[in-house]
Chain length 405, copies 2
């Protein structure tokens, strides 16, 4: 059995890097704070005796040898956060992986297969798009050059930032092909908490569609310009926000739609904006319905753009189809949770995860624990200690079984 206090202590220590008001973290990918977080976790990996490699997209993998030189059983997640993030999102999965290793070390257990704990670069997609970048490169979904070229809002590029923080490693991403991958994560949504279920057995991940729209209108005086003459870039952006809400209601509970980011220019009280740049995040567990949502947003934008006489450019920042996890592995997660007398619920993941990329490379599954009040990407993100420990114990048991088969 693993040690709950040790796991909580590690979470606390990592959360102290980039700590922000309210108990949260700001460790955007490839910032100085991310580097400090990485250094801390790499130090822990080495102290546990893991063989650490950093690959060319900055993914870090620590391997514990098995008795046989087989493909490892891998777990892991990410340690980057959004700008006003919580302390569990990603971090929990990585540190629980290290706690699994620590427990095996203490018990003097050597598994047949090696065990690997990974953290992947820029899972959040908050600073650079697409999200899940490190794991996407790992499975060959995009090439290194494409990833290196991604820039943040200030024009800083992934390649340069990796070099700057000292995490542009030598290893080829994906060189180590796991036997299986199991990711432990907080749910980040309200379902387990509302239903008072301890373990979410994740069967799939929603499709994700991120588009950035750039609207060009005509700036003009707010006092003198009659409504009929306005070509207001901000008006179109606002209308998409309301349309997204309406669309999600109309399409029903599994469709979500969000305008999370918006910048106006010149952004002055008395000037009709001539430019708006905003994002639309659409998700659905069903690919056909996700495509329907995309088409309806595009049609709405075309219609308003015509009426307002503004021009709109669309840029796809991320697009991932829904992913179905390995049925056998999902069963094993459910089995081990029940064997520990934990309540379970099969469910899709609303958030994107590195596991959804890893499924392209090897049998993959995920374990969810409850998020209090469904809060995530919020400094108040919280999961009860007992739930954190329960999830980690399920991970340990699943990995032990996998590592001996």
């Amino acid at each position: 059995r693993l040690n709950e206090q040790r796991l909580l202590g590690a979470l606390d220590e990592l959360a102290s890097i980039g700590a922000i008001e309210g108990g949260g973290c700001a460790r955007l990918a490839l910032t100085d704070e991310d580097r400090l977080g990485r250094d801390l976790v790499v130090g822990w990996m080495k102290a546990l005796g893991l063989a650490v490699t950093v690959d060319a997209i900055g993914n870090v993998i620590g391997v514990r040898a098995g008795t046989e030189n087989l493909a490892p059983v891998m777990t892991g997640s990410h340690i980057d956060t959004v700008r006003t993030g919580g302390r569990y999102d990603g971090n929990y999965g990585v540190l629980a992986g290290l706690e699994v290793v620590r427990t095996l070390n203490e018990a003097g257990v050597t598994t047949r297969r090696p065990i690997a704990v990974a953290f992947f670069t820029n899972e959040e997609g908050a600073r650079f798009q697409p999200d899940m970048m490190g794991s996407l490169v790992y499975v060959g979904g995009i090439g290194l050059n494409e990833a290196y070229a991604a820039v943040d809002k200030d024009g800083a590029a992934v390649g340069d930032e990796l070099r700057r923080i000292g995490y542009l490693g030598a290893a080829k991403p994906g060189a180590l092909k796991p036997h299986a991958f199991v990711e432990l994560h907080i749910e980040q949504g309200p379902i387990l908490d509302e239903e008072k279920v301890q373990i979410g057995v994740v069967e799939s991940v929603q499709g994700i569609s991120w588009t950035e729209y750039t609207v060009t209108g005509v700036s003009n005086h707010a006092g003198t310009t009659p409504m009929r003459l306005r070509r207001d870039a901000g008006y179109l952006a606002a209308s998409v926000n309301l349309f997204a809400r309406k669309l999600a209601w109309e399409m029903g509970g599994d469709q979500v739609a969000t305008v999370g980011s918006l910048a106006l220019r010149p952004n002055l009280i008395n000037v009709v904006p001539n430019r708006a740049v905003f994002s639309v995040d659409l998700r659905n567990t069903d690919e056909a319905r996700l495509q329907e949502a995309e088409a309806r947003v595009a049609a709405h934008i075309a219609e308003v753009a015509m009426a307002e006489r503004v021009e709109v450019e669309a840029k796809v920042l991320a697009r991932f189809e829904p992913v179905i996890f390995d049925a056998g592995l999902v069963d094993r997660v459910e089995h081990h949770a029940r064997a520990l007398s934990l309540s379970t619920r099969r469910m899709p993941s609303g958030a994107g995860h590195d596991a959804q990329m890893m499924q392209r490379l090897c049998p993959t599954a995920m374990i969810f624990v409850p998020s209090v009040a469904g809060l995530s990407h919020n400094v108040k993100e919280h999961t009860e200690a007992a739930d954190l420990a329960a999830g980690a114990q399920v991970l340990l048991n699943v990995m032990l079984e996998l590592a001996d088969t």
Copy 2:
């Protein structure tokens, strides 16, 4: 008759300070660019033999002596611009005033009353609120300390910025009480251009209502948070933008409503915003109708805030009732324009102007010239040279009559 080429040359030279792409200017109030523009115009005033005083809010007044020591006839406007402003807004009125003086100097004419040319601080209100700050202080509408305490988005205060750029003068604002004030300005709207009229005889200025709203919601994950649980600060902001448009249509042609400024937090693609700060600019020539518009916006916000379970704080940034100019002086403007065989049209001003403050102190009127396509607060703001010259000639003739009575 004044010299059109000289006036155009001066406009060009001033526009070269803070010049931005597309032919426009960025000389936000009390920035380094504003200081350079002020220095240039003060130099011109001195070269013309004007006695220059700078007052404690940074208003600059150049006085040309008359044969008698009477209250002066004053003209003037402002030289600050919005962030993506044109080259005529404000600047034209100030430089035409100097061209009037230059013409009198060359003709060796001495008027009975002194003639004064002023430029007032922070008319635009783009960096600091309220707008028309310098002239408002000049007429005693707000005190110096209140004005000094106004801060921009980065927390810089008017008092400190005045000192920093060397324009915190010794004179008491309003010490010089004019006999009359006449402001020449571009229309900034489409009416004169659409109707092919040369001179706008401005009878009044619309009421202005600027409010900044700060919305506090709950940040949460865009992928996992069902629509029913969202408390999206950005959604409320967007709904106000659309409501403002609808309100203006419903209330008819003289009501305008604009959301020009908006900032979201954390402003990330996959995070429901927990904070939105946005402005609403409402204008109406009728005070009762302006109050109706304000009340309807407030009611809409209260309703959406309740449904979305977000909190909203409102802060009035500027509030000016409609202003009626001096009827006799308005007649004199019309008379002199017609005497020059120029076509005229009586009209209200859609924009706020220093003249609307000066009307509290002395008989005041305004002269408008056409804005091509009604563009203003836009780098492409343009007025034809012949119209610029015609407006300045009307100003000269009106001032000459006033200065000899």
